[in-house]
C-alpha cells in the first residue's frame, strides 16, 4: 500500500499545483478587472466634463468654447482611454466589457457631442477607432470600440442634444435647434431598425424610450416657437416666420 499512498500524494499535489495555477489566473484577472474599472471611472468623469464644456457654447463664444472642449477631449483620450487600451491590448476585450463599457459609452457621448457641435454631423465609429490606433502597441491587436458600446453612447447623446436644443432656442438659434431636431429624429429612426437585433437590447430599449421623450421635447419646443412666430405673419406681411423670429431680438433690444 506504500505505492498506493505515493499515488495518493501525487494526485493530491498535482491537484494543488493545478489549483494554485487557477488561483493565480483568478487573481490576475480580478486585478486587471479592477484596474479597468478604475480607468473606466476616470474616462466617465472626464468625459462628463467635456460635455459640460460644450454646453457652455453660445453664439458669441462658440469657437473658443469648442477649442477648449477639443483639448479636454484629447486629454481624456491620451490620459485615460489610453490606459484602457493598454490594459486590454492583445487580450480579449469582450471578456471585460462590463468593466469598461460605462466609461466608453460616456466617451462616445462626449466625442460625438463635441463633433456634432463642431461639424454638424455624426462622428463615426471608424473615425473614433482610428484615433485610438496610435495608442496601441503596433505589434498587438488594437483595442477597437465595438458597435454595441457605440450605439449605447449614441443613445445618451440624444439627451445632451435635447438640452442643447432647448438652450439654443432661448438663445435665438432657431435654425440650429431645427437642425438638432432633424438629426435626433434621424438617429432615432435609424436606431429603431438596429436596436432589436443588438446582442443584448434590454438596456437599449429603455434608452430608446428616453430618446423618444427627448425627440418629442425638441419637437414641442420647435412647435412652440413656430406657432408663436406664425401669429404675426399676417400682421407683418412676412412669409418666413422663423427668420423673422430669430431676427427680432437682435434688432429691437
Amino acid at each position: 500500500s506504500s505505492t498506493k499512498r505515493a499515488r495518493t500524494m501525487a494526485t493530491n499535489s498535482s491537484m494543488r499545483d493545478a489549483f494554485s495555477k487557477h488561483a493565480e489566473y483568478l487573481n490576475n484577472l480580478n486585478d486587471k478587472r479592477e484596474r479597468v474599472v478604475k480607468a473606466s471611472r476616470d474616462v466617465t468623469m472626464n468625459s462628463k466634463k467635456v460635455i459640460f464644456q460644450v454646453h457652455r457654447m453660445s453664439k458669441y463664444n462658440k469657437e473658443e468654447v469648442l477649442e477648449k472642449a477639443e483639448k479636454d477631449l484629447a486629454a481624456v483620450t491620451n490620459q485615460h482611454v489610453s490606459r484602457l487600451v493598454k490594459e486590454l491590448q492583445g487580450t480579449d476585450f469582450w471578456k471585460l466589457r462590463r468593466a469598461y463599457s460605462p466609461g466608453i459609452q460616456e466617451y462616445i457621448e462626449a466625442a460625438t457631442f463635441y463633433n456634432f457641435c463642431k461639424t454638424g454631423s455624426l462622428l463615426k465609429l471608424d473615425e473614433i477607432n482610428s484615433t485610438l490606433l496610435p495608442l496601441s502597441d503596433p505589434s498587438l491587436e488594437p483595442l477597437q470600440i465595438n458597435v454595441l458600446d457605440y450605439l449605447l453612447g449614441l443613445a445618451d447623446l440624444t439627451g445632451e442634444l435635447m438640452r442643447l436644443a432647448i438652450g439654443q432656442i432661448s438663445d435665438g438659434e432657431l435654425e440650429f435647434a431645427e437642425k438638432i431636431c432633424r438629426f435626433v429624429r434621424d438617429i432615432y429612426r435609424d436606431l429603431t431598425l438596429v436596436v432589436p437585433i443588438m446582442d443584448d437590447s434590454s438596456d437599449m430599449k429603455t434608452k430608446m424610450d428616453t430618446m423618444l421623450q427627448s425627440v418629442m421635447k425638441i419637437e414641442n419646443a420647435c412647435f412652440s416657437v413656430h406657432v408663436r412666430g406664425s401669429e404675426y405673419i399676417p400682421l407683418l406681411g412676412s412669409n418666413d416666420p422663423s427668420s423673422f423670429l430669430v431676427g427680432l431680438p437682435d434688432i429691437e433690444l
Binding site: R56, S58, N61, R163, I169, S170, S224, P249
Partner: protein, 229 residues
C-alpha cells in the same frame, strides 16, 4: 461580558444621536411651518398685491428663520464634525428657505442673493454651521422655477416691463450655472429645468415686445456681451 459592554456603549451612543435627531426634527418642523407662512405671503405676488407690503411681511419671517437656525447650530454644536451626519434631516427644508429669501431679495433689488449673503441673512456662520453650497444652488433653481409664473401674472396685471427684467436676470443666472460641472444628481436635474424657465420667460418677453407693449427701458443685454440678445 465585554461584548455586552461594547453593545451597551453603542446603544447609549445611538440613543444620544437619536435624541439629537429628534431635537433637530423639532426645529426643522418649525422651519417648515415658517416656510409655509412665508411662502403663502410671497405667493400673493402672483395676485399682483403691491410689492412693498408683501416684502415687509415676508421679511418678518427672516428673523424667525434666524432663530431657528441658531437653535439648529446649537444642537449640532454638541457633536462637532457631524454636520453632514444629520444633513439629510434639514437639507430639503433649507433649500426651500433659500428659494424664498433669494426670491424676496430679487423682488427687492433685482439681484441674486449670493451664498455668503444668504448665510448672513439666515444668521449662519460658515466656519461652524454654514449653508451647504449645493443646498444654496438647489434653492436658487427652485426660485428660478417660480419666475415664469410670476412673469405671466405680472403681464396679465399690466406690468409689461417685467418680462425684460426677469429675462435679463435669468439669462445671467443660467450663464453662471453653466460654469459648473455637475454629477447626474438632483442639482443637475433642477438645473436642466432652468432652461425651460428661461424659454418660457423669453416667450412672454416676445409676446409683449411683438405687440409693442413693452416700455422703452434699457435693453436686456448690451450688444456683443455673452447671453441672449
Amino acid at each position: 461580558h465585554s461584548l455586552e459592554k461594547q453593545f451597551e456603549d453603542f446603544r447609549l451612543q445611538l440613543e444620544e444621536s437619536g435624541g439629537l435627531r429628534d431635537r433637530i426634527r423639532t426645529v426643522v418642523s418649525e422651519i417648515e411651518s415658517t416656510t409655509r407662512l412665508m411662502h403663502a405671503s410671497l405667493l400673493l405676488v402672483h395676485q399682483s398685491r403691491p410689492t412693498p407690503e408683501l416684502l415687509e411681511k415676508a421679511k418678518s419671517y427672516v428673523n424667525v428663520f434666524n432663530d431657528h437656525y441658531k437653535q439648529l447650530a446649537e444642537v449640532l454644536g454638541e457633536c462637532s464634525g457631524q454636520y453632514y451626519r444629520y444633513h439629510g434631516d434639514w437639507r430639503s427644508e433649507t433649500q426651500t428657505v433659500v428659494s424664498l429669501i433669494v426670491f424676496m431679495h430679487w423682488l427687492e433689488t433685482g439681484n441674486l442673493l449670493m451664498h455668503a449673503e444668504a448665510e448672513e441673512k439666515l444668521g449662519l456662520n460658515s466656519s461652524e454651521f454654514g449653508l451647504d453650497i449645493e443646498d444654496y444652488l438647489i434653492g436658487v433653481c427652485f426660485m428660478s422655477n417660480e419666475l415664469p409664473r410670476y412673469v405671466v401674472n405680472q403681464v396679465t396685471a399690466g406690468d409689461y416691463d417685467c418680462p425684460r427684467k426677469v429675462l435679463k436676470f435669468l439669462t445671467e443666472l443660467h450663464a453662471a450655472f453653466r460654469m459648473l460641472n455637475l454629477r447626474n444628481d438632483f442639482l443637475r436635474k433642477k438645473f436642466d429645468g432652468m432652461k425651460y424657465d428661461l424659454r418660457r420667460v423669453e416667450e412672454v418677453y416676445y409676446d409683449v415686445k411683438i405687440r409693442g407693449l413693452a416700455p422703452n427701458g434699457e435693453p436686456v443685454e448690451d450688444q456683443g456681451a455673452q447671453g441672449p440678445p
